[in-house]
Amino acid sequence: MTLQKACITGTGMSTVGRNTMRLAIDHLADAALAAIADAGLTRDDIDGICTYPGRSDNAPGMSPLGVGEVRNALGINTRWHAAIPEGPAQFGPVMSAAMAVMTGQARHVLCFRALTESSSQSAGRRASVPTGKNARVSGWLSWYLPMGAMSASNWAGWIATRYFHEFDMTREHLGMLATAQRENATKNPRALMQKPLSMDDYREARMISSPLCLFDCDIPIDGACAVIVSAGDAAKDCRNAPLQIEAMGAALTGKDTWDQRPDLTTMASHDAAADLWQRTDYKAGDVDVFAVYDGFSIFVPLWMEAFGVCGHGESKALIEEGAFRLDGRHPVNTGGGQLSAGRLHGFGHLHEACEQLWHRGGERQVSDAQVAACGAGGGFLAGALLLVRQ
């Protein structure tokens, strides 16, 4: 029996903002109902639901909603549900949903991500700093937080410093990426940041964790994004051209750490992307649009090398050439990415890849885009998806 591949049939996004003072469930409902309508479905067609990571109080506003809250609020009855805290990064729910519809557990799965990190930053608590509720930390975080490495910007800083050292990359290169993504954001009405960013702005920005400055770090927001993953045969009846999940990559070598990977100029992204290419006849050269995780700007060159767009350490030349720009050979993060559109934890990237494949990109549309490669996660977290318009 050959399993028919799953497809993405609809997407939805709430208004993304800072300090919206709106409840997470209001953002989520906006995104979920838009995605269901986009697919040409109704609530009653949704028989599966999945999210990453599930409800979590670990860091403020990082994951206010689990599948339970969303099922309850939207009155959805399901044949299959799951939350994926440990898996192929923020694409865990999409991959799990794909496997669920391929094996007949569900027909249409609502995958979602909701965050209220912006409005949750108060009383000295910062978004993405997992201070938790307990006095002491355990698990992998316990090897960083007590040592003073409180923020992912510190861990990404180590990756960047080592990469700079080995491959002569400089802050100018990351600046070129950040400013180009901002340019893309100004063509994306959904993007949080709409003001152009100049290289001078970038150079003068305050340092967060060297060599990463403010504009190398993504932006905590309030918002939600939803994606409908449908069974291949069911997708044909939906409103949009089905976007087939041609291949998925979730491989991971080594331990779940940010510092022990033998070569810190690579990440789990390299494992996941290599595995993805093992599962398809498509090649990196066939990809029209890339949507890769940019929690920090340094992840972009690593993801592009992971996908095999160029060799290890060769991104520098492509950045100098402008290859990753909207009008370049390998357009990346065409909606602004998390650096400029806001931190929707990979779901924003997936949303933008779908916009491009459905040719809804407006001013930022990549001409006749048919194939998109998406990568989520940094460090030891990675999931990769290859989407092909049917």
Binding site: G124, R126, V129, T131, N134, A135, R136, V137, S138, W140, S142, W143, Y144, L145, P146, M147, G148, A149, M150, S151, S153, N154, G157, W158, I159, A160, T161, R162, H165, R206, M207, I208, S209, S210, P211, L212, K255, T257, W258, D259, Q260, P262, L264
Partner: protein, 135 residues
């Protein structure tokens, strides 16, 4: 306000028994593999005889970052955070603060020694410059 690790039977030696520039790293006596973060079972040979062993904290900077952002209300910045290869324990890196007089001169390859700060029941490792210590 320091964020401290939760102590368990597997990590207790690392967090509480560092002394005199030496850190307790778990090693498998059967295959000699050093295991960090520590585990109960050797991931190489699956042996269960793993035990913490005092290892010189002398190390070499593999990478570093200077943190400029106060992530907690009372965090004094800037400070250096290094990922350092432990010279006597191949394959083991420790990520920790680096207390140095010259934050601008930090470089990959720089030689370090280990020191400890006592916070509650924890002996928190941090690095110093081997060169500064020798002066």
């Amino acid at each position: 306000m320091a964020v401290l690790p939760e102590i368990d039977m597997i990590n207790e030696a690392f967090w509480t028994k560092g002394r005199d520039g030496k850190i307790m790293i778990v090693q498998c006596p059967d295959c000699e593999r050093f295991i960090h973060p520590p585990e109960r079972i050797c991931p190489n040979c699956l042996g269960r005889n793993v035990a913490p062993r005092a290892v010189s904290g002398d190390a070499t900077i593999y990478s570093f970052t200077i943190n400029h952002q106060p992530w907690l209300p009372d965090m004094a910045v800037p400070f250096a955070l290094v990922v350092a290869d432990i010279d006597a324990a191949p394959g083991v890196r420790i990520a920790a603060r680096f207390e140095t007089d010259d934050i601008a001169e930090i470089a990959i390859g720089q030689k370090l020694i280990m020191d400890f700060e006592e916070v509650e029941d924890i002996r928190l490792p941090f690095f110093r410059s081997a060169q500064e210590a020798a002066q």
